[in-house]
């Protein structure tokens, strides 16, 4: 990509889904391997934020031998500043249902689940209606597949895939030790594909138009489009589908309020980028194309100069201290200590050098926390403290 890359809007995800029956029938007429290859050549990566190649994920599960397998749609959209999945589920639910079923066909699963965030209870009725219609059609074409909604109960950690399985199994929502990975041993110990809502919606696009259409969008390592939940100090908050690879300066030019001080990319667990680094930062999954490249679940929080970065960090840390499952030491105690620590520095009870101790603590959390939650606290902590150190102290 070039340094003068411009923001490119796209419109795939929310385009109407009334051709889902055709897409389903067409896909079921192809072999699982063809479908997997289609996904692999699209280079679609998981849209929940971690960016695992979706085609590979399906392939791994399809290769497992088991009496039962499952497909789970992760709709536990809990990252602060992210609100795209609920829009997908309310506006184009059939794309998601179709994608779940195609995945089931590919890996050999007969059951799919939607793990729906507790706070999205209001979506449940409409979604169930769509599921009934969908299942009816499956019966008509003699495709044996069912989808059930599983309601979450409000814990952020249950969006972590293995904690999600524990929650579905009726246990305390705590991440499991990995390996084994879900493709081998997921829900009920069976091979499971678990994909984010948006990822599934993209597979619909790929199966409908073919992988090339998708691959041609975006940039190397970061193909296709992505939904962005834009919030904060912006004149036009909302959800936007954009090609991946954009630079943050272009993004801010489009969405900022001419006074943007920093952008939090990827929600509370993501990175804060200060103004001076907008130009060298692009949004994507891998590789240092221009400066740094940040992966994201799509949350873009814009802060202008009226915002205190101390308050922003305090808010995030409160969130993490509350939402840590409490299982592993670095996350359980670490989140609390970071929170206490910045308060103590702010109040002058600890000197500024204590921030360096806390940065090391954050580093330990990043290297030794068991799951993404604890590992990613360091992202926002380090990026805020390093870039706005003076705001932490004075």
């Amino acid at each position: 990509m070039s340094a003068n890359y411009l923001l490119k809007r796209a419109d795939f995800i929310f385009k109407n889904d009334n051709d889902w029956e055709d897409v389903l029938k067409k896909s079921l007429s192809r072999t699982p391997n063809e479908l997997i290859n289609e996904l692999i050549s699209s280079e679609l990566k998981g849209r929940g934020g971690a960016g695992f190649p979706t085609g590979l994920k399906w392939k791994l599960s399809s290769e497992e031998k088991a009496d039962e397998k499952f497909v789970i749609c992760n709709a536990d959209e809990g990252e602060p500043g992210t609100f795209k999945d609920r829009e997908i589920l309310s506006r184009v639910p059939f794309k998601v249902l179709t994608a779940i079923a195609i995945c089931g066909y590919v890996i050999g699963a007969k059951k799919g689940f939607i793990y729906l965030r507790g706070e999205y209870f209001f979506l449940k009725n409409e979604l169930n209606k769509a599921i009934s219609e969908f299942e009816f059609f499956c019966k008509e074409i003699k495709f044996d597949f069912s989808i059930k909604i599983f309601m979450g109960s409000g814990a952020y950690i249950c969006g972590e895939e293995t904690a999600l399985f524990e929650s579905m199994e009726g246990k305390r929502g705590e991440p499991r030790n990995k390996p084994p990975f879900p493709s081998v041993s997921g829900y009920m110990g069976k091979p499971t594909v678990i994909n984010n809502v948006e990822t599934l919606a993209h597979t619909f696009t790929i199966f409908k138009y073919g992988s090339k259409r998708f691959y041609d969008l975006g940039v190397q390592f970061s193909r296709g489009t992505k939904l962005f939940s834009v919030s904060g100090d912006t004149p036009k908050p909302g959800i936007y589908e954009l090609e991946l690879g954009m630079s943050l300066s272009d993004f801010v030019e489009e969405f900022g309020d001419d006074d943007t001080k920093a952008v939090q990319v990827g929600g509370a667990s993501g990175f804060l980028v200060p103004r001076k680094k907008f130009a060298e930062t692009s949004i994507g999954f891998q590789g240092k194309l221009v400066g740094i490249s940040l992966p994201t679940g799509g949350s873009m929080m814009i802060f202008n100069s009226s915002r205190s970065m101390y308050n922003v960090l305090d808010n995030y840390l409160n969130f993490f201290a509350e939402e840590s499952c409490g299982q592993c030491t670095p996350c359980r105690v670490g989140c609390q200590q970071l929170l206490r620590g910045i308060k103590a520095v702010k109040r002058g009870e600890k000197n500024a050098q204590y921030l360096d101790k806390l940065l090391k603590l954050a580093e330990t959390m990043q290297f030794t926390a068991k799951c993404g939650l604890g590992q990613s606290v360091a992202n926002s902590f380090a990026s805020i403290v390093e870039n706005f150190r003076e705001e932490m102290i004075y």
Binding site: A155, I157, R172, E174, N177, P179, A321, E322, E323, S324, C325, G326, Q327, C328, T329, P330, R332, V333, G334, C335, Q336, Q337, R340, K357, K360, L361, E363, T364, Q366, F367, T368, A369, K370, Q375
Partner: protein
């Protein structure tokens, strides 16, 4: 078959280790000790503490060596600046919420957290306490939980659920409010806890310990108005040596007796005496059930954790339990009747102390029905109800006894060996093996065979019921009558046999159940650590003691013959019924 080996690089050196091992176990095999805390072999691999982290080439973060399989060609670093920083930081984080009162802590000197601080050279505790203060749970007669000392390693939860299938404790709350809790915060004494104490045995700190009864005992020993006698369970003689700094599984019967005398007990007796008595009563009970169409299979009742377990979880099956009291309770009952009478001692002055490898015994001795001696004397001595006394007054675990020995300056290892007092200290090899899983079965067979067939048993060693397999079975031939028997240790294995009974599918006539892994020698009151290799060494000592005993069959114990002649008359007789047998309570789970 030769075990498959894999090649692995540890800190730049090439090694071969057995395939299928974790990095941590593989490293231990070749003498590289990775510090760890929450991990406990065969019990828990929660991987929560973040201490055993190592670098693996290619991994983007540090990996937990306790749960990560070593694989061919893996390159591992077990120490580096990043690793050291991570270990020390995680330990500092744990210390933030752990009291620093080591000097006055029950586990001072035997605490894994303390050891780790020394190992990693912790010099400061830079973080403030963030955990809310929680109440000490002293609702149980056997165990005390101190949540302040808990580091949330999860071992107790794992052992309670995975080894015992009791589920009395579990994690509750999240984040900062995470804690180990009982159902509805009722406390261990008010939920379906069996008091087995395996949680205390695996706890790395003093977050769960046995209820300390040693101070009251010392007061009674120093009180000239009281006669304090002690009974020692079979498993103590292979455990107390360890706790006094000797080798694992050291057999120290004579030194233990000498030490107890030094401590000031007026008489030192042996629970093995009443183990022999149990065999008589239980053996005759089995024969009676077999010949009178009684409830079968009959299941042993020596292990109080097991008794409470069946009362909670399988109350419909209580008829299957032998009505015999445990050897500890039989001892208390005969000490305060037969022995008191024989010696002319006022039973109210007699204090009976038990040394047990067990925490559940603390609960057992305070069961309301365990006051047979009081009832025996009530009319004879015209006693008031308020003068009620228990058959057994105090129970000390092996660990508590070791502390008392240390307190009173007993130089254990250098003591001259001494013998138990008569008559309640005389026992056979059959009594010794009660300490190991399968031992009660083997002892019972030695007697039942001879009683039923009238001819001597040729081979006393019933090897098929020895060893640590979870459930063992055997078929016995008693003069043409074939009897199937089974032996289970751990409550999870007991569940399997109970489910068969409740489904009407149990093929057995007689079942032995021991609550703790390995039997009493692996009891919840035994020295820490207790591992499978240590259990094996204790078992070896137990069977050695059995083989050295001049008498190895309960019914040939002269003191047992005497107590029947002088006092009890017949097994299952009237006095036996009053003193040696008991009944059970339907508890349910809530």
């Amino acid at each position: 078959m030769e075990k498959k080996k894999i090649n692995i690089t540890i800190d730049g050196q090439s090694f071969q280790i057995g395939a299928g091992k974790t990095i941590l176990e593989g490293c231990r095999e070749i003498g590289v000790k990775i510090p760890s805390l929450c991990y406990l072999k065969d019990v828990s691999s929660n991987a929560s503490c973040g201490i055993c982290v190592v670098e693996v080439k290619g991994a983007k973060s540090l990996v937990r060596s306790c749960v990560t399989q070593a694989s061919e060609g893996m390159e591992v670093k077990t120490h580096s600046p990043a690793i050291n920083q991570a270990r020390i930081t995680n330990l500092e984080l744990l210390l933030a919420n752990h009291p620093k009162d080591c000097l006055i802590c029950e586990r001072n000197g035997n605490c894994e957290l303390q050891d780790l601080c020394a190992l990693l050279g912790i010099k400061e505790t830079p973080y403030e306490q963030t955990k809310p203060v929680e109440k000490i749970d002293d609702t149980s007669l056997a165990l005390v939980r101190n949540p302040q000392k808990c580091i949330l390693c999860g071992r107790c939860v794992a052992v309670c659920a995975d080894v015992q299938s009791v589920y009395a404790i579990d994690f509750a709350g999240r984040g900062l409010k995470s804690k180990i809790a009982t159902w509805q915060e009722r406390g261990l004494g008010n939920v379906a806890c069996t008091n087995c104490g395996q949680c205390a045995l695996v706890c790395p700190t003093a977050a769960i310990v046995e209820k300390d009864d040693s101070k009251q005992i010392l007061n009674d020993i120093y009180d000239d108005g009281k006669i304090v006698i002690v009974q020692t369970a079979p498993a103590i003689r292979v455990g107390i040596g360890e706790a006094m700094g000797m080798s694992e599984g050291a057999l120290v019967t004579g030194k233990m007796v000498a030490a107890l005398r030094k401590l000031g007990f007026d008489k030192v007796f042996d629970t093995q005496f009443t183990a022999d008595l149990t065999i008589m009563e239980e053996g005759y009970e089995l024969i009676k059930r077999l010949t009178t169409n009684g409830t079968l299979p009959m299941v042993t009742s020596c292990s109080p954790g097991w008794i409470k377990f069946i009362e909670h979880f399988y109350p419909k099956s209580l008829d299957h339990l032998s009505t015999c009291k445990s050897p500890q309770q039989m001892f208390g009952a005969v000490a305060k009747t037969y022995y008191a009478e024989k010696m002319g001692i006022d039973p109210r002055r007699l204090v009976v102390v038990s040394i047990m490898p067990c925490t559940a015994k603390k609960y057992e001795c305070k069961r309301p029905e365990m006051n047979s001696a009081f009832h025996y004397w009530k009319e004879k001595m015209n006693l008031q109800d308020k003068e009620n006394f228990y058959d057994v007054d105090y129970v000390l675990t092996t660990r508590e006894l070791a502390k008392m020995f240390k307190l009173t300056g007993v130089d254990f290892e250098n003591l001259q060996e001494e013998d138990f007092d008569h008559p309640l200290g005389i026992s056979t090899g059959a009594g010794v093996i009660f300490a190991a899983t399968g031992g009660v079965m083997e002892a019972a067979v030695r007697t039942a065979y001879e009683v039923v067939t009238g001819s001597p048993l040729k081979n006393l060693d019933l090897k098929v019921v020895r060893g640590f397999e979870g459930i063992k079975e055997a078929e016995l031939d008693l003069n043409g009558t074939k009897l199937k028997v089974a032996v289970a240790h751990t409550l999870k294995n007991a569940r399997v046999l109970l489910d068969e009974i409740e489904e009407g599918k149990s093929p057995y006539a007689f079942i032995e159940v021991m609550t703790c892994p390995g039997g009493c020698l692996g009891g919840g009151g035994q020295p820490i650590p207790t591992t499978w290799s240590i259990r094996q060494k204790r078992a070896d000592s137990i069977y050695r003691e059995d083989s050295l005993k001049p008498v190895r069959k309960s019914h040939e114990n002269p003191a047992i013959k005497a107590i029947y002649d002088e006092f009890l008359k017949d097994p299952l007789g009237h006095i036996s019924h009053e003193l040696l047998h008991t009944e059970y309570v339907e508890r349910g789970i809530y």
